[in-house]
């Protein structure tokens, strides 16, 4: 697979690899995918309670180059956004940024799912209503 330079860069030097304390009140954790599928992404956000801005984001991914690059990119984009802005991140933006080949588009979908899952977790821990 001939990947784009940006993708390879994210793969070789992924951004924000790591683990946040999932029990912390202001941390939301999203865990999506399954080992049998060959893709598991764990994406975590640390939210500033007052401004609702995402202060920090970390990820770890079991998956191919596209999956790792997609989740690395997602954490970069999340930092500094509000939760609502983060919810607007669309997988096709990831596809374009990394020039994902068609057969790898599902990796960007999983990254979007991971973002939404992390936000949903944060909201439910802080009793914030889910917006439609």
């Amino acid at each position: 697979m001939a990947y784009s330079e940006k993708l390879i860069e994210h793969f070789k030097k992924p951004k924000n690899v790591g683990t946040l304390d999932k029990d912390a009140q202001n941390v939301g954790t999203g865990l999506v995918g399954a080992p049998e599928c060959g893709d598991v992404m764990r994406l975590q956000i640390e939210v500033d309670d007052d401004s609702k801005i995402i202060k920090d984001a970390k990820f770890k991914t079991f998956g191919c180059g596209s999956a790792i690059a997609s989740s690395s990119l997602a954490t970069e984009w999340l930092k500094g956004k509000t939760i609502d802005e983060a919810l607007a991140i669309d997988n096709m933006a990831i596809v374009e940024e990394l020039a994902l080949p068609p057969v790898k588009i599902h990796c960007s979908v999983l990254a979007e799912d991971a973002i939404k899952s992390a936000i949903s977790d944060y909201k439910s821990k802080n009793s914030i209503e889910e917006t439609a």
């Binding site: 049998e36 060959g38 079991f62």
Partner: protein, 407 residues
């Protein structure tokens, strides 16, 4: 052989053409360029002579009569010819074929085709080691069974089937035995007649010959085996495979066979030493690594290893700027399905996604093995640092108990 720094460990996929083979082929492009079927002039005679010699070299390698070697375009064609050719030729005797789930797609897809034409096919399971169960094979045989098709050595795991035992069973039941021996011929001693194999497909490009040429062994006597041709027009190769012979490639194939006959034994020893060293080092450098397939009955140059909690395509990306291998991961296949061979071994999708096949060859060096050990170890460790399921495993989480949100 390779430009600086490139290491080729994917010899089960194809092999470099041996320079001595290329040298043997060259005169047949611009000097002896005649059609081998032109019997009336020196141009044809020279080409025919090259083909005759190659046929003898190949026959010698597998210990058969040259008249039993039918040239094809490769093993895929040989598999098609054997399966479809037997099905059509022996239709009055029966319509049932038995094969294994771990066969190459050239066999499986040929079987699917004859199912559409009214044939019955039994696809047997293998055990966790990749070996056929002889009792199950015997139980599957009926009075309508006309062919058993079982590969000599598996392309993904290197596992070698109990060929003589299968041959004896087929002989006892009067059923033809066909084998896709692509991964075995030229690398280990392969004697179809001594084994009870009546048809055998193999190819040049897996044994340091050129791509685009192969052969099907068809037993001539006791029993006399015939196949209905699949390629018609001219009656070449005793009416079994029409088409002008690819003379330069055939000559190359013959030379490759001759080299293999003389060098095979020493080469197998050398390669198995390097393979064992690679395998031992990787297994001891890292935990949670698993070798796939029976290790007692295995090709000397292959190791298929699953690195748990690390996905195969991603792992390959950590070293594929200079090392070439293959993976059973879904992410490397166009169909996004993981390796059906590894699944048939009962591996579970997650280990199939984590598998890498290293297949060594004639031109690999000890130094390349050293570099590979280092780079693969670094790659696995890097990927495990990125892997949430590795972290969970280290934290003592029972991954089988987790409820994953599949999509």
């Amino acid at each position: 052989m390779n430009s600086d720094n490139l290491i080729y460990l994917d010899n089960n996929s194809t092999t470099p053409t041996d320079p001595r083979v290329v040298e043997a082929m060259l005169p047949y492009f611009t000097q002896h360029y005649g059609n081998a079927a032109s019997r009336n002039h020196p141009f044809g005679w020279a080409a025919e002579s090259g083909v005759d010699k190659a046929r003898e070299q190949i026959a010698s390698l597998i210990n058969v009569d040259p008249r039993e070697v039918i040239f094809t375009s490769g093993a895929t064609e040989g598999d098609n010819l054997a399966i479809k050719g037997v099905f059509e030729m022996y239709s009055r005797k029966g319509n049932h074929i038995i094969t294994l789930k771990t066969e190459h797609k050239a066999v499986l897809d040929s079987c699917k085709k004859i199912e559409k034409q009214g044939g019955q096919v039994t696809y047997l399971d293998v055990n966790a080691d990749g070996l056929v169960d002889l009792n199950k094979l015997e139980a599957a045989m009926t009075d309508k069974t006309i062919l058993v098709s079982i590969m000599w050595a598996n392309n993904e795991t290197g596992v070698i089937q109990p060929m003589k035992a299968i041959g004896d069973l087929c002989a006892k039941k009067g059923i033809l035995f066909m084998s896709d021996a692509t991964q075995a011929v030229g690398k280990i001693p392969v004697d179809p007649k001594a084994t009870g194999v009546h048809l055998m497909a193999f190819t040049g490009h897996k044994m340091y010959g050129p791509k685009g040429v192969g052969a099907l062994f068809v037993n001539r006597k006791n029993p006399r085996v015939k196949v209905t041709s699949q390629m018609d027009g001219g009656g070449h190769e005793r009416g079994m495979r029409s088409g002008t012979l690819n003379v330069p490639a055939i000559v190359g194939f013959g030379k490759a066979a001759e080299l293999a006959e003389h060098e095979m034994e020493d080469e197998a020893k050398r390669l198995s030493g390097m393979r064992d060293r690679l395998e031992k080092a990787l297994m001891s450098n890292m935990e949670e690594c698993y070798i796939n397939g029976n290790t007692d009955n295995r090709m000397p140059h292959v190791t298929n290893i699953s690195f748990k909690h690390v996905e195969g395509e991603g792992l390959m990306m950590t070293f594929n700027q200079n090392i070439g291998v293959s993976s059973g991961s879904a992410c490397t296949s166009a169909s996004l399905e993981p390796s059906y061979v590894l699944i048939a071994l009962g591996l579970g999708d997650d280990l199939a996604h984590s598998s890498i096949r290293f297949s060594l060859g004639r031109f690999n060096t000890e130094e390349e093995i050293d570099k590979t050990i280092k780079q693969v170890t670094e790659g696995v460790n890097h990927m495990r640092d990125l892997s949430p399921i590795w972290e969970m495993y280290k934290d003592g989480v029972d991954l089988d108990a987790v409820e994953w949100s599949e999509h």
